[in-house]
């Protein structure tokens, strides 16, 4: 026992010492803490893919030119498996051992909550692009200067939420039934939206479900009996496929949601009446019209050697981590430094990046970006409305 323990300690220390890809001196070190396996890991999974592709492309082009010198990007993206403990240890490794200053993620609120206590110690020495909803309330708070939240679609007042609710009201909705997954994200969404609904004078009824739920017919039957104008289901695609299919069987045919792909609507296009979804980008359409998007899709297929592009999930803004890498590189160019976190942050907050999405940040680091609202009708006809940053 003793021997093994010693060996283990030794090997552990060793591997921790040498872990991480060995890269040329003076690389731009970016870390990414996302869940790539486990429940609701598909968000983090897409995020890591976006980042990997961006880094690949930049390094292909010889790296980022800052102050006349070209730096390759070194990206480390381990799998938190959605566990705060693992996220915390991985982040410590990134910050203290590999001296990474730029962190993408986490998307999962529980992981963010697990690491926030630790990261606060790194205020000013770190930039963290955390899409986690739990990060939102902290934006601009003292001690959270390191925090940027590139994705704000779920936060009604600042984001487009008000717009969405307003639109719902204009459609004459009086009663909305919320069927939301009982986890951190779901809780935030409901807390945020119930106020906006109240303001808009819309009556709501909320039901929670465990992530593991597959059969919703009981609760859907109860909801149907209440006769709501719209069903507001959330939020993972897995849940949405089941909810939409089972809801339409019970005569609930109008849906309105703030996260989720169009897949469920298309799958059930014969039985839905209306399916309004927030869409960072409707790729199927954009592929035809926007060469940038077409190129992205092609590159994605080539790089990951897949036949078909995940149209369902790509729209979830997670894919924007692709943009964030380029945006970060751009900011470094402007700041003329890869290590001066403060300067880089200043540039980030002042610039507008026109990538797959038009992106910028508000004064406290909350993201502002273009998005589309897609309305799917029975039969599958899709109408999308592009909303540019600031335009309200």
């Amino acid at each position: 026992m003793r021997k093994s323990l010693l060996n283990f300690l030794a090997s552990a220390a060793l591997s921790f010492g040498l872990a991480g890809p060995v890269v040329a001196q003076e690389a731009i070190k970016i870390g990414q803490i996302e869940a790539q396996t486990g429940p609701s890991s598909y968000l983090g999974f897409m995020a890591t893919q976006g980042a990997k592709l961006a880094v690949h492309q930049i390094n292909q082009a010889g790296g980022v030119e800052v102050g006349g010198k070209k730096y390759p990007i070194d990206l480390d993206s381990p799998d938190t498996q959605g566990s705060p403990q693992q996220g915390l240890i991985q982040l410590k490794k990134m910050l203290e051992q590999d001296h990474r200053k730029y962190i993408l993620g986490p998307t999962l609120s529980n992981v963010f909550n697990g690491v926030r206590e630790y990261t606060r110690g790194y205020d000013g020495k770190l930039l963290m692009f955390a899409p986690a909803t739990a990060a939102h309330p902290e934006l601009g708070k003292p001690g959270y200067g390191f925090l940027l939240r590139p994705v704000v679609f779920d936060t009604a007042p600042e984001g487009f939420g008000t717009y969405m609710v307003e639109m719902l009201r204009s459609k004459g909705a009086k009663k909305v039934a919320i069927l939301m997954q009982n986890d951190a994200f779901g809780r935030f969404v409901v807390d945020i939206y119930k106020d906006s609904f109240a303001k808009a004078g819309i009556e709501i009824q909320t039901h929670w479900f465990e992530a593991s739920t597959k059969d919703y017919s009981a609760v859907l039957a109860r909801i149907a009996a209440w006769k709501p104008d719209y069903l507001f289901p959330g939020y993972t695609d897995a849940a949405l496929y089941d909810i939409v299919q089972q809801a339409t069987q019970l005569g609930l045919t109008k849906f309105w949601l703030v996260r989720g792909s169009l897949g469920p609507a298309i799958r059930n296009k014969a039985s839905i009446d209306e399916y309004i979804a927030y869409m960072p980008k409707y790729f199927e359409e954009a592929e035809k019209t926007d060469p940038k998007v077409a190129k992205f899709i092609k590159d994605y297929k080539d790089f990951f050697k897949v036949k078909d592009f995940p149209y369902d999930l790509a729209p979830l803004l997670q894919m924007a981590s692709y943009d964030h890498v380029f945006m970060l590189a751009e900011a470094m160019k402007r700041a003329g430094s890869i290590n001066d976190v403060a300067a880089v942050k200043k540039e980030l907050l002042s610039m507008t990046y026109d990538g797959l999405w038009v992106q910028k940040f508000d004064s406290v680091g909350g993201g502002i970006h273009s998005y589309e609202i897609a309305e799917v009708r029975r039969g599958g006809a899709i109408k999308t409305t592009l909303v540019k940053p600031g335009s309200k």
């Binding site: 093994s4 283990f8 300690l9 498996q81 403990q85 203290e96």
Partner: protein
């Protein structure tokens, strides 16, 4: 042997001096805290032979009770811990009485404890006003200890946490060791090995199973308090079924034969994900293979097998 032991103690005590690497320190700190969890589980499973899947719940309830009592009544970590121990003791006592009165054994006992654990988890998930549900609670309260000379010392920063958790696991292991070496431990072993004989020798199996279950669960509660304060965060994931399975694999990988062995298992389970630097799927695959081969090739766990080697050598 003695020499090796001393070397080990020295090494463990000196780690912070040898490496300032916070990653190693936090992996070991987690190891010690989870070690307490695994050791306490092993008292119930490995020593007394009752496969409880309630342990994650005890862990989580301990974490919540410690923090909530500290936050609401602004009491010290140690008072909070005492309160949590009380809560978990009561809960596990009731559950134990039900299970053992109705003579639930082996898999049935496992499933019933699992069922109660799941119900408690759902309770925590949905009692928003108290636990803040799935959002969990963030806090920056830290335990503090009184040291002769140094006075009251707040536990913060990698090194202090390292030594603090180390001290805790040592104390817990020693405490359990005392119990296991006493007549009580004999009773536990007797129940595991052959309950009928134990009864025929005038040993009240019900009472001792209950005692073991409560003592073990209290250990889990303590671990929960430590864990949550090290993270500065509690959330319902602590009570997850997978947590119980992780504890079980810690105990088995380390070895269920002795009191302290599960700590080794805790080290393996905690460090492994950070040692194998592979992409997610591969790591999941390898974790599975390791579990399988530990069981098939060394059923007594790492420690047990090494003991064996030494005997035969």
């Amino acid at each position: 042997m003695r020499v090796l032991l001393l070397v080990l103690c020295g090494a463990v005590a000196l780690v912070p001096a040898l490496t300032a690497n916070n990653v190693v320190l936090s992996v070991l700190t987690f190891t010690f805290i989870l070690g307490i969890l695994a050791v306490s589980f092993n008292l119930i499973y490995g020593i007394t032979g009752q496969l409880t899947l309630f342990h994650a719940a005890a862990f989580g309830v301990g974490a919540y009770a410690t923090h909530l009592s500290m936050a609401h009544w602004s009491i010290s970590f140690w008072l909070g811990t005492a309160f949590a121990l009380g809560c978990v003791a009561v809960v596990s006592l009731l559950l134990g009485i039900v299970c053992f009165r109705f003579r639930l054994k082996e898999f049935y006992f496992a499933v019933v404890t699992l069922a109660f654990a799941e119900m408690i988890r759902l309770g925590v998930m949905n009692w928003h006003s108290l636990t803040n549900g799935s959002l969990g609670i963030n806090f920056s309260l830290k335990p503090s200890v009184w040291l002769p000379g140094a006075g009251a010392l707040v536990i913060e920063g990698p090194v202090r946490w390292y030594y603090f958790s180390l001290a805790c696991v040592v104390v817990v292991v020693l405490a359990y060791q005392l119990v296991v070496n006493s007549w009580i431990g004999n009773a536990f072993k007797a129940i595991r090995l052959n309950e009928d004989v134990a009864a025929s020798l005038g040993l009240n199996a019900f009472r001792y199973k209950l005692l073991s279950f409560v003592l073990g669960s209290m250990g889990a509660s303590f671990a929960g308090g430590l864990y949550s304060h090290y993270m500065g965060f509690v959330d319902p994931h602590l009570l997850d079924i997978n947590q119980s399975l992780a504890i079980l694999s810690m105990a088995l990988i380390g070895g269920t034969g002795s009191v302290a062995a599960p700590v080794v298992g805790a080290l393996v389970v905690t460090a492994l994900p950070h040692l194998i630097d592979l992409n997610a799927e591969w790591r999941l695959l390898i974790y599975g293979l390791i579990l399988i081969f530990t069981i098939l090739l060394m059923p007594q766990g790492i420690v047990g097998s090494l003991r064996r080697l030494r005997k035969h050598a």
